[in-house]
Point group: C2
Chain length 195, copies 2
Amino acid sequence: MKSGRPRTFDTEKALDRAMYTFWRKGYYGTSIPDLTRAMSISRPSLYAAFGNKEALFAKVLDRYRSKPAAYLNEAIKEPTAKKVFEKLLLGAIDLQTDPANPGGCLFVQGALASGESNDAIRHELAARRASGEATIKLRFEQAVSEGDLPVGTNPADLAKFAATVVHGLAVQTAGGDEREDLLHVADLALRAFPN
Amino acid sequence: MKSGRPRTFDTEKALDRAMYTFWRKGYYGTSIPDLTRAMSISRPSLYAAFGNKEALFAKVLDRYRSKPAAYLNEAIKEPTAKKVFEKLLLGAIDLQTDPANPGGCLFVQGALASGESNDAIRHELAARRASGEATIKLRFEQAVSEGDLPVGTNPADLAKFAATVVHGLAVQTAGGDEREDLLHVADLALRAFPN
DNA sequence: TTAATTATATACCATTTAATACAGAATTAA
DNA sequence: TTAATTCTGTATTAAATGGTATATAATTAA
């Protein structure tokens, strides 16, 4: 048994609250008081439980990827590359325009630009976006080897195209674009897909 | 003649310096000392000449749109909608990957998310992005009425697709993507264009 | 009970933030 | 010269930032 006074707050719930706050305001726009208020915990509790702002953000990114952004994992399970692509776009639109969520994508609007002091955050997010793109690329490579995609198709290019559209959708939804309009954008993007 | 001590700095050059700083660091990541250092002027001079940080940013946005982002105006002069689209993507890639510039697009990475205190900045940028999209939409409407685009083509959807790809490219370049790779993305996007 | 351990709350710290007050310097108009 | 005007530099302000020191409360192990 571990001794000591037990925590009076739920770590998972607190992380969720932190996630939505960072999602809405970005890393810079979120202050420690913003976080403690949203998480309903005291400042020292935050530092004791999560390290510091940067460490908390990293935990939040993990959580974001494994919960709201899990549509990526679902998408690559589709039987054909085209369906993978389709599900990717629809999943992104659903997530980013869900009224229960802040608009946009945490990996995009967390921090696209920064002063030298927080370069680390920006690079961390770029790396996470690149990781998603790499996952898609692997799936498309598989599709090529299975004959599901035409010979000569470049999986890396196709994956980067998918990532570009998804990230573009994130900018659009951050600006308040409507789900219905973005579904038409997805339809158009699908026409670029090789048959 | 206007009397008084003359300015010892060039307003245009100072605005350029401010533009690159905001472009690289975003609105939040840029502090007033960052600006005064880059512009080589004192703090009170900045306030006297440009108002405050927000007003300076607005002037910088105008400048960005009329200089580096003027490729939009060039693109819509192309004779066909497809060429407009092509030039739009190539122009965006050229601008965003020019080694002389910070990566990405100021209208995108200036501020995608924010705390309540600076909602105004975020909305201002969203409005400027929407304005660009509206310009493209007008051009595509013209193309439809000229018979350059197939009947039934929705200019609004096509314009939003173009904006989405351009903004997606901005996210990619902010993350360090290479020009060569993004040209392939542009090729793919072009395949979605109606003939 | 006692000791050890862990969480909480108040209060605080140094630094940085955007923004200004004020005095002096440089110019034009009369 | 004189007055009016405008810019510049130093110094300062109040508020907000991320991060802690310290004391106390609550639990387990002995």
